[in-house]
Symmetry: C2
Subunit: 220 residues, 2 copies
């Protein structure tokens, strides 16, 4: 975190080589090198960079007859930038490293449901957040006694529309409970919405979707 912050707008060409490999045709791009070593090359559109490297990369500077060559290396991944002409460069020493504070996440949704748990699972005897299993942690596990039988309600939360991936994730937990632990289990996806395919797949397995809205934000 003691590196240099550098922002360069320049005419350049970029090569990436690692697990995959890419080439970016010569043009005018924004090159960002952050204090933690992260490197970004941005084009004129899109939020995602054309090329990037995560924090921890090392930057090498080299002057050649063809122009400046920047090489950023991290493990077995390398990005090479051949700079033809620098239009503007900023040495961002003062660059701040604050974090945003974010409200309205999946765990907020989960906690909101827990605070109204009687509404969804009356007569519950146990509640476990992030219940750990060999196949991953269950967002919320609510155990009920139904006429003497213990029912395990396995709940997966999604803050937006649930897809097939959510069903798979839930199915994995349920398979563990049903076939390894031999306990009676019912699966639930709590989300504001669910895709048609996901709902079909869910109901074929005898599980359920419960529509819930992201809770209103309450500032601390």
């Amino acid at each position: 975190m003691d590196g240099i912050g550098l922002i360069i707008y320049a005419r350049c060409e970029v090569w990436y080589k690692g697990r995959a490999e890419s080439h970016l045709a010569p043009g005018d791009y924004l090159i960002i090198r952050k204090k933690d070593g992260a490197l970004l090359i941005h084009g004129a559109t899109l939020t995602t960079p054309l090329n990037y490297q995560p924090p921890g990369a090392e930057l090498k500077y080299e002057r050649t007859p063809e122009g400046i060559i920047l090489t950023s290396t991290r493990k077995k991944e390398e990005i090479k930038i051949k700079i033809q002409e620098v239009y503007t460069h900023i040495l961002a020493d003062s660059w701040s490293n604050n974090k945003i504070t974010l409200w309205g996440t999946e765990s907020h949704l989960r906690d909101h449901v827990i605070s109204n748990i009687d509404k969804y699972f009356p007569g519950h005897t146990e509640i476990h957040k992030e219940y750990s299993t060999p196949v991953g942690a269950i967002d919320l596990l609510v155990i009920q006694d139904k006429s003497g039988e213990r029912v395990h309600n396995v709940i997966e939360f999604k803050r937006k529309k649930a897809t097939l991936a959510a069903c798979s994730q839930l199915g994995r937990y349920l398979q563990h409970f049903r076939t390894q632990m031999m306990v009676l289990s019912i699966g639930y996806i709590f989300s504001p919405d669910i895709t048609a395919n996901a709902l079909i797949h869910l109901e074929q397995n005898g599980d359920h979707h419960v529509k819930v809205e992201i809770p209103q934000i309450t500032h601390p």
Copy 2:
């Protein structure tokens, strides 16, 4: 795509309001506004922006006694930036919009395996790429005739270490074939590596991992 490209290094403060909500404390940040309307606010570390808005956002400029206020709006999402002082700004008219060309993806791995398919599945009768099912598309489906019985080999590719999520995905396809289509099916994950838990889970279901390396890159 006819908007202005703008790069600003400035002291500012940022608020985001939409499905979620966040606040970024005053400091020195890099503000990027792209030609397609995308907006990024980057801090001194990490590859991801602190705040962002996808393409299509509209930017409003406002001058107040407290400083310049930029407001970027897209659907019901809004980012507000209060700029105290601009250190450097670049009007990036020439900003290029080229795309990278990428080799070594999951589909390259799949195609490499297909070209050596006899090695893995001798006596196959049918090969289907991206075989569509109600629960998603199977990367590769290879059908074999084994002493008169049709065996469906369901193959999922991962370009790096396979995790539990890959098993779930594969399991979803297999469940469909076995319980809905009533055909004999065997599942495979082809990847350079697999996590311990994922391998256990896979083998418990009678499925298999096949170690494959990302193919050498051959430039066109």
